[in-house]
C-alpha cells in the first residue's frame, strides 16, 4: 500500500490529467457543434431520429431540419462524436481514479471540504452524462456539461485546493458519507437536467421564431427536437429529485444527531429547502396548463441556480453552522 502522501500526490496528478482530457473532449464537442451549426448546403442531417411522442406533438412543432430522415450521417461528424465520447470516458476514468486516490490518502470518504466536494460533484455530473449518453441522444449537452466540469475542476485545483487530511470532529460521521454522497449524485444529475433544460429553452425559442416553416438556422435550430430535450430534462429531474429529497432528510437526521435539532433554518438548510421547493414547483408546473414547457424550464434552472448558490454562496459569503467545513 502506497503512503498517504504518495496517494495524495497521485490524486492531484490524476485530477490535473483529467482536466486536460476534459478540455480536449470539450473542444471535440465544440468542434462538432460548430460544424453542425454552419448553415451550408452540405449540412449534416439530424443526428438522431426524432421521437415525436404524444407530448412532443402538442408541445413543439418540429422544424423540417429536425424531421430529416436519420439515414445518412456525415462520417466526419460521427467520428468527431466518437472521439469526444472516448475522450470524455477517458477523462472520467482519470477523474474517478483521482477521487478514489484522494479518499484512500485521507482514509475517509473523499468529500469533506469544498475542493473534494467539487471534484466528486463534477465526477457525478460526468457520470450522469455518460449514463444518459448510452441511452439517449444527449451528445448536444456534451459541450456544456464538459465546459462546466472543466471550469469547476479548474477552480477547484486553483482556488479551493485543500491538502488531504482528517476532518474536524463534527464531520466524523457516517451521515457525512450518506448525506453528502446523495447531494453529490443529485447535483450530478441536476446538471444534466439543467443542461437539457437550457438547450430545450433555446430550441423552443428557435422553433417559435420559426413558425413560418422555414428551416431554423444556427446552433439552436440544429439541436434535438424540443420535445426530446424536454423529456430528457424531465427524466433527469424525476431521478434527481427523490435523491435530493433523501439528501435533505439525511442531513436533517445528521443535524439532529450533531446539534440536537433536525431543522434550524441554518443558511445551508434554508438553501437546500429553497432548491427542493423550486424543483417541486418545476415538477408541478410540468403538469399545469400554461406553465408546462417554458415557465417550468425556468423553474428548473432557478432550482439549479439555488443548488449552486447553496454550495458557493453559502459556503463563502454567509456564516452559519456549515461554515466549519472550510474552503
Amino acid at each position: 500500500m502506497p503512503t498517504p502522501t504518495l496517494l495524495a500526490e497521485l490524486s492531484d496528478r490524476l485530477i490535473y490529467s483529467a482536466i486536460a482530457v476534459y478540455a480536449l473532449a470539450m473542444l471535440a464537442y465544440a468542434y462538432q457543434a460548430a460544424r453542425r451549426s454552419r448553415p451550408a448546403a452540405d449540412d449534416a442531417p439530424r443526428l438522431e431520429p426524432v421521437a415525436a411522442g404524444r407530448h412532443g406533438a402538442v408541445l413543439a412543432p418540429q422544424s423540417p431540419a429536425s424531421a430529416a430522415p436519420p439515414g445518412i450521417r456525415d462520417a466526419a461528424a460521427r467520428r468527431t462524436e466518437r472521439i469526444a465520447a472516448a475522450l470524455t470516458t477517458l477523462a472520467f476514468v482519470l477523474h474517478l481514479a483521482g477521487v478514489v486516490a484522494r479518499g484512500l490518502a485521507a482514509g475517509r470518504a473523499p468529500w469533506g471540504n469544498m475542493y473534494e466536494f467539487t471534484a466528486a460533484a463534477t465526477l457525478a455530473a460526468t457520470a450522469a452524462y455518460l449514463v444518459f449518453l448510452r441511452r439517449q441522444p444527449v451528445r448536444d449537452l456534451g459541450v456544456w456539461i464538459l465546459a462546466l466540469v472543466t471550469l469547476c475542476l479548474g477552480l477547484a485545483v486553483t482556488v479551493l485546493y485543500t491538502p488531504a487530511g482528517d476532518l474536524v470532529p463534527a464531520l466524523n460521521s457516517y451521515w457525512l458519507v450518506v448525506h453528502v454522497a446523495a447531494a453529490i449524485i443529485a447535483g450530478g444529475v441536476f446538471t444534466v437536467g439543467a443542461a437539457a433544460t437550457g438547450l430545450y429553452l433555446l430550441r423552443r425559442r428557435a422553433d417559435a421564431r420559426d413558425a413560418g416553416g422555414q428551416a431554423t438556422r444556427g446552433y439552436a435550430g440544429r439541436l434535438p427536437a424540443a420535445a426530446t430535450l424536454e423529456r430528457l430534462a424531465h427524466t433527469a429531474h424525476l431521478f434527481a429529485f427523490p435523491v435530493w429529497t433523501f439528501a435533505v432528510l439525511a442531513g436533517a437526521i445528521w443535524a439532529e444527531d450533531s446539534w440536537g435539532r433536525y431543522w434550524g433554518w441554518d443558511p445551508k438548510e434554508t438553501w437546500a429547502f429553497i432548491t427542493w421547493v423550486l424543483y417541486a414547483a418545476y415538477l408541478h408546473a410540468q403538469s399545469t396548463a400554461g406553465w408546462r414547457g417554458r415557465k417550468a424550464g425556468w423553474l428548473a434552472l432557478a432550482g439549479y441556480a439555488a443548488f449552486w448558490f447553496n454550495f458557493v454562496g453559502v459556503n463563502l459569503f454567509i456564516t452559519g453552522l456549515h461554515s466549519y467545513a472550510g474552503v
Binding site: G53, G165, L238, Y262, H284, W291, L299
Partner: protein, 524 residues
C-alpha cells in the same frame, strides 16, 4: 384559473375561490412564493437561528433606517413570521384540497375496470399491428395471461383485452403529500412542547437538568419547564486532540467529554463518554457536545491577605487557536472589590499588530494576560450582568506608573497589585465543555413522516401508470388473426419501452422477434 362565477351568490364565489386555491396553478405559484420568502432569512441575521445572538441587534444598530422597518415586517424572524406562515399554510390547504379528491378518485378507480379500447387504436402511441397464426380466442387468452403475469388488471372482452397497471403511482403521490402534513404536525409538536438550552460545564463541575442551571433556555409556548427529566451530569474529564503538523495544523480532530451521569436523582452513577455526533440520551432529552474552551484556575487574596476567590473561570474562545477572553470578578475583596480583564492563550504569543494571540489550540505555553480594576463591580443592585463583561461605570483601572497595570502569568505564577490591593495566582488550567441540551417530542413523528414522504415520492415518480389494449380480429380469408396493440400513459412519462414488443412476441403463432411489422421500433 377556473372561470369566474357568473352568478352573484356568495356560494358561487366561494366555490370559485376554493377551486382556484386548490388548482395546480395556485400550488405552483405558492411553491414559488415559498422559495422566495425563504431567501431573506438566509441573508439577514435571524433571532431564532442564533449561533450569534447579538447579530440582529448589531444589524439594526448598523442600519438605523431600514433596520427597524425590517424588524417590524418580521424579516429577523422570517420563519416564524405571519407572512411566511401564511404561505405555507395556504400551500397545505391548497394541497389537501387537491389531494383528497384525488384520493377519492383513486379509491373509485381501483375498484373500476380498465376502460374499453378506443375504436381507433392506431391513433395511440406505439400502436402495432401484426398477424399471428392462431385462433382469436386463443390469442386473447394468451395476451390476457401475459398481462396478468405482469400484474396488470385485465378484462377480456369479445374482441379485445383491456389492461391497466400502476395504481401504486397515485397511492405514492397521496402518501407523499399527506406525509407533508404529518411532517408539519411533527414540527409543530416539537416547537410547542420541546425546548433547547445551552450550558457550560467546567471539568469537575456538575449540571442538573433544571431550568435555573441553564445558561440559556428556550422553551416552546407549551413546554412544561418545571417537569424536565431530572438527570444530572458531572464532567470528569475533557480531552481534545488537534492536528499537530501539516497545513491543517491546529484543526480539531477529537473531542471527548467523560461524564458521570445520574439518570434519576439518587440513582446509580454511570460513566458515559459524549463526543461530537454522539450525544448522551436520557429519556427523550439529548445532551450534545458542541464546543469547548479553557477555564484558568485562579485564586485571589485581597488587601487584607484573605483568600476571597478560588476556582476556575470560563474564558470564551474567539478564534480557531482558542485565543480566549474573559473577566474575573472578586466581589468579596476588601477594602475594595477587584475585577480582572484579559486574555487566556493556550500557546501564547504577542503579535505586534494584532495583539495577544494563541498560535495553537492545545496547551503548549499557556499564559494569562490580565489588567486589573478596583472599585464597585456593580453587582450589589441586583441588576443582571454578563459574567463575561466588567461593568466599568464605577471601576477604575489599576495603573503602573503611567501605563495600565498588566501582567502575563504562566501556571504557578502570581501578580501583586500596586499598593497591596491584592494578589492573583494563576494556579492551573481546566477545560470546559459547551453542551446543547434539546428535547423534541415531535421528532419521532417527523421521522416517520419523512420516511413515508421519501417512499411515497419515489414510488410516485418511478411507477408509470398506463393502459394497454389488444384487439384481435380474425384475418380475412381465415387462418390466423390480426392483432393490434397500443398503450396509453396516464402520466407524463411514456409507457415502458419494449412492453408491447414482449407482449406481441408472447402470442401464440407470433413470428420470431426481430421481424415485427412494427412501424415504431421504440415505444417512445
Amino acid at each position: 384559473m377556473p372561470p369566474r362565477p357568473t352568478g352573484q351568490g356568495l356560494r358561487a364565489w366561494g366555490r370559485w375561490a376554493w377551486r382556484t386555491l386548490t388548482s395546480m396553478r395556485t400550488a405552483v405559484l405558492l411553491l414559488l412564493a415559498l422559495a422566495l420568502a425563504a431567501v431573506p432569512g438566509s441573508l439577514l441575521p435571524q433571532r431564532g437561528v442564533a449561533f450569534d445572538p447579538g447579530a440582529v441587534t448589531r444589524f439594526v444598530a448598523d442600519n438605523p433606517v431600514v433596520g427597524p422597518w425590517l424588524d417590524r415586517l418580521g424579516f429577523f424572524e422570517v420563519y416564524s413570521s405571519p407572512w411566511f406562515a401564511a404561505i405555507y399554510l395556504l400551500l397545505m390547504v391548497s394541497m389537501t384540497g387537491c389531494v383528497l379528491p384525488r384520493a377519492a378518485r383513486l379509491w373509485r378507480s381501483t375498484r373500476a375496470e380498465p376502460p374499453r379500447a378506443p375504436t381507433n387504436l392506431a391513433r395511440l402511441d406505439g400502436h402495432r399491428r401484426t398477424t399471428v397464426a392462431a385462433e382469436r380466442a386463443q390469442v386473447l387468452q394468451a395476451a390476457a395471461s401475459h398481462l396478468r403475469a405482469r400484474r396488470f388488471r385485465v378484462v377480456v372482452d369479445d374482441d379485445s383485452v383491456r389492461a391497466e397497471k400502476g395504481y401504486l403511482r397515485e397511492a405514492g403521490n397521496l402518501v407523499f403529500h399527506l406525509s407533508l402534513l404529518v411532517l408539519l404536525f411533527g414540527v409543530a409538536i416539537g416547537s410547542l412542547f420541546g425546548f433547547e438550552g445551552r450550558v457550560i460545564v467546567v471539568e469537575g463541575a456538575s449540571f442538573t437538568n433544571t431550568r435555573l442551571q441553564y445558561d440559556e433556555f428556550t422553551p416552546g409556548p407549551l413546554t412544561d419547564a418545571e417537569g424536565l427529566s431530572p438527570f444530572s451530569v458531572t464532567l470528569d474529564d475533557f480531552t481534545a486532540r488537534f492536528e499537530t503538523a501539516g497545513p491543517q495544523r491546529g484543526s480539531a480532530r477529537d473531542f471527548q467529554a467523560d461524564l458521570t451521569v445520574l439518570r434519576t436523582p439518587g440513582g446509580a452513577a454511570e460513566k458515559v463518554t459524549v463526543e461530537v455526533n454522539h450525544p448522551l440520551q436520557v429519556e427523550g432529552t439529548k445532551m450534545f457536545l458542541t464546543g469547548h474552551g479553557y477555564a484558568p484556575v485562579v485564586s485571589v487574596t485581597d488587601g487584607r491577605g484573605q483568600t476571597v476567590f478560588s476556582g476556575p473561570v470560563v474564558f470564551v474562545p474567539f478564534d480557531g487557536n482558542l485565543s480566549s477572553e474573559g473577566v474575573i470578578k472578586v466581589p468579596d475583596g476588601q477594602p475594595t472589590q477587584l475585577g480582572f480583564e484579559g486574555f487566556f492563550l493556550p500557546t501564547a504569543s504577542v503579535d505586534p499588530a494584532a495583539g495577544p494571540r494563541s498560535l495553537y489550540p492545545d496547551l503548549v505555553d499557556p499564559q494569562l494576560l490580565l489588567t486589573a480594576y478596583t472599585g464597585d463591580l456593580g453587582l450589589g443592585d441586583g441588576a443582571p450582568q454578563s459574567v463575561f463583561r466588567l461593568d466599568k461605570t464605577n471601576l477604575s483601572q489599576v495603573m503602573d506608573g503611567d501605563e495600565p497595570f498588566a501582567r502575563a502569568l504562566r501556571p504557578g505564577e502570581s501578580m501583586t497589585l500596586p499598593d497591596g490591593q491584592g494578589t492573583l495566582t494563576f494556579e492551573s488550567v481546566s477545560r470546559f465543555a459547551n453542551f446543547q441540551i434539546a428535547h423534541d417530542p415531535g421528532k419521532e413523528l417527523s421521522l416517520v413522516a419523512a420516511v413515508a414522504l421519501l417512499l411515497g415520492l419515489t414510488v410516485s415518480l418511478a411507477v408509470r401508470r398506463r393502459r394497454v389494449w389488444v384487439r384481435v380480429t380474425a384475418a380475412a380469408g381465415g387462418g390466423g388473426a390480426t392483432v393490434e396493440a397500443a398503450s396509453y400513459a396516464l402520466t407524463r412519462r411514456e409507457p415502458v419501452p419494449g412492453e408491447l414488443s414482449s407482449l406481441l412476441a408472447a402470442l401464440p403463432g407470433a413470428e420470431p422477434a426481430g421481424n415485427g411489422a412494427a412501424p415504431h421500433d421504440r415505444e417512445d
